[in-house]
């Protein structure tokens, strides 16, 4: 069942610069969706538009969440519907401690599973448990990323929007995070993520989109994209394995789409 339907939205910066050009996509419930794309493709813009952080955007088009129109709503309202967004800059409260940040993640929750959720995230990110009283600003980049993810998970979202969740994570942790994501997806959370680490992303995603300059240029199941030649070249960096060892080639091959 589709949970999120975006149909031909247009988002502009300064009322002049188009970042999204009539983009449409669908996200089905309880699945993981990955959006890939080069710098400046508008991936971040897409997630921000959905979560309502761009004022008065999208200019055109509709966004539907579980049958309810949510475009141009205030971010609080959108968030209360169960959409949680982890932005590129992680959106942490730097002057608060780790514990306080996590507590804020539970805002509005009154169920009894908070405790088990805490255990889940501490098991996933043991370092956070060591750092509960530390001010967020002093955490390392990766630790901040973990905290942001943990806080988002504590909210038990219906739809989780992740902007580059593996950014700055060590390879081992990144894999663990992805395992955890599949796990919470199975437990009932839909995930829409923007990711550059295509290999990891495609390994857990059910479906994925490739976005360039504000449009979806390619979509398909993870497997299909994985086998696509251009995707392999540009996103999975396959060719690099076979590239001549003597140096790096600056190539700008034309894409077939």
């Amino acid at each position: 069942m589709t949970q999120l339907t975006i149909s031909s939205i247009e988002t502009l910066y300064y009322d002049r610069i188009y970042a999204l050009h009539g983009l449409s996509l669908q996200v089905r419930e309880k699945e993981i969706f990955a959006v890939l794309g080069p710098n400046g493709a508008g991936k971040t813009t897409l997630l921000k538009t959905i979560s309502g952080l761009l004022k008065d955007q999208p200019k055109k088009g509709t966004i539907e969440f579980s049958g309810k129109r949510i475009e141009r709503l205030a971010p609080e309202r959108i968030s209360r519907l169960g959409i949680v967004f982890v932005p590129e800059d992680r959106g942490l409260f730097h002057e608060l401690t780790v514990q306080e940040n996590l507590d804020l993640g539970c805002w509005g929750r009154k169920d009894h599973q908070i405790q088990t959720d805490y255990e889940f995230i501490y098991q996933l990110f043991p370092i956070l448990k060591e750092r509960t009283q530390q001010m967020v600003e002093t955490l390392s980049g990766g630790e901040q990323q973990m905290l942001a993810l943990a806080r988002a998970m504590l909210r038990r979202p219906k739809l989780l929007l992740l902007d580059e969740p593996s950014l700055g994570l060590a390879p081992m942790i990144a894999r663990q995070v992805y395992d955890a994501l599949s796990q919470i997806c199975r437990a009932g959370t839909t995930i829409l993520m923007v990711e550059q680490n295509a290999k990891l992303a495609l390994s857990i995603a059910h479906y994925s989109y490739i976005m360039e300059s504000g449009r979806i240029v390619l979509e398909g199941t993870a497997q299909k994209l994985h086998d696509h030649k251009d995707v392999q070249l540009f996103y999975l960096g396959m060719e690099q394995e076979t590239a001549p060892a003597k140096g790096w080639r600056l190539y700008k091959k034309r894409r077939t789409w």
Partner: protein, 269 residues
């Protein structure tokens, strides 16, 4: 792109330092209210060398950078750079000595244009004559402008030249920051996760830039990176940290195979 580096002839080469390593860190330790972020770190960086720095999250890589660039003062240890101990210097003096860095969470001047950001990189090289500022004598400005334009060309930043940095996509911001560091004509460049958050294609581009920087500008580079495929390719040597102490050092291949590194960092593949 001009073939010869425009500023190579300006470089002051200390005859003694020719035999010495460019950077020699020894016994470096720092502690933040109970958290031992670095313990007794020692390593050297030679001229024109790329040294890879890896380690799990929170292992102290950025802290090490902060110590070298003077943002933190280490509790113990020495940082010898071209014959001088940087330990007690302020960040701006260290910058003048020829150490440039980028940041993990970008620290650009968001409200300025890309061009101005790069020109700020040239700040230490300006002949600072207040009368030039007051009387609008712009010869100095033009001279640096030329160098900056070359960097812009080199890093493919032309489309963003006059854009406000805040409006540029994340990947471009990373490149701008690298350009800003490069504009300082550093002897040693500290790069903190320069390729995080890029697509494979862009990663390779950046990797290309990094080798080119070393090749053309004769800069030594200290590189933090979590994408190991690239890191192992780029680095001449490598050092791995865990919980603030060194767990392996040496040839990338060997480091990759050290059990401690696999356990703490890579995980079983």
């Amino acid at each position: 792109m001009a073939d010869i580096c425009p500023w190579n002839h300006l470089r002051f080469i200390n005859p003694i330092s020719k035999i010495m390593a460019l950077l020699e860190v020894s016994g470096l330790s720092i502690n933040f209210g109970g958290i031992q972020a670095l313990t007794d770190i020692a390593f050297t960086v030679e001229r024109e060398e790329i040294l890879g720095l890896i380690g799990p999250n929170g292992s102290g890589k950025t802290t090490l950078f902060n110590c070298i660039s003077g943002v933190y003062t280490p509790d113990k240890g020495d940082i010898m750079f071209a014959g001088e101990n940087l330990r007690r210097f302020s960040p701006d003096t260290i910058a003048c000595k020829g150490v440039a860095r980028t940041f993990q969470n970008l620290r650009l001047f968001l409200n300025m244009t890309v061009l101005d950001n790069l020109l700020l990189g040239r700040h230490i090289k300006f002949a600072k004559n207040p009368f030039h500022a007051l009387l609008r004598i712009r010869s100095e400005e033009l001279r640096h402008r030329r160098i900056v334009e070359e960097i812009i060309e080199f890093l493919d930043l032309q489309p963003f030249r006059q854009n406000r940095v805040a409006d540029c996509p994340y990947g471009v911001q990373k490149r701008i920051e690298m350009g800003r560091a490069l504009a300082m004509e550093p002897l040693l460049l500290l790069l903190d996760e320069p390729i995080a958050g890029l697509t494979a294609e862009e990663k390779q581009e950046t990797a290309y830039y990094i080798t080119e920087i070393r090749g053309r500008y004769k800069t030594a580079i200290l590189l933090v990176e979590h994408d190991l495929r690239i890191a192992f390719k780029l680095a001449d040597r490598m050092i791995a940290l865990n919980y603030g102490s060194e767990i392996a050092q040496g040839d990338p291949k060997e480091v990759q195979q050290t059990p401690a590194v696999i356990k703490a960092y890579l995980g079983e593949e």
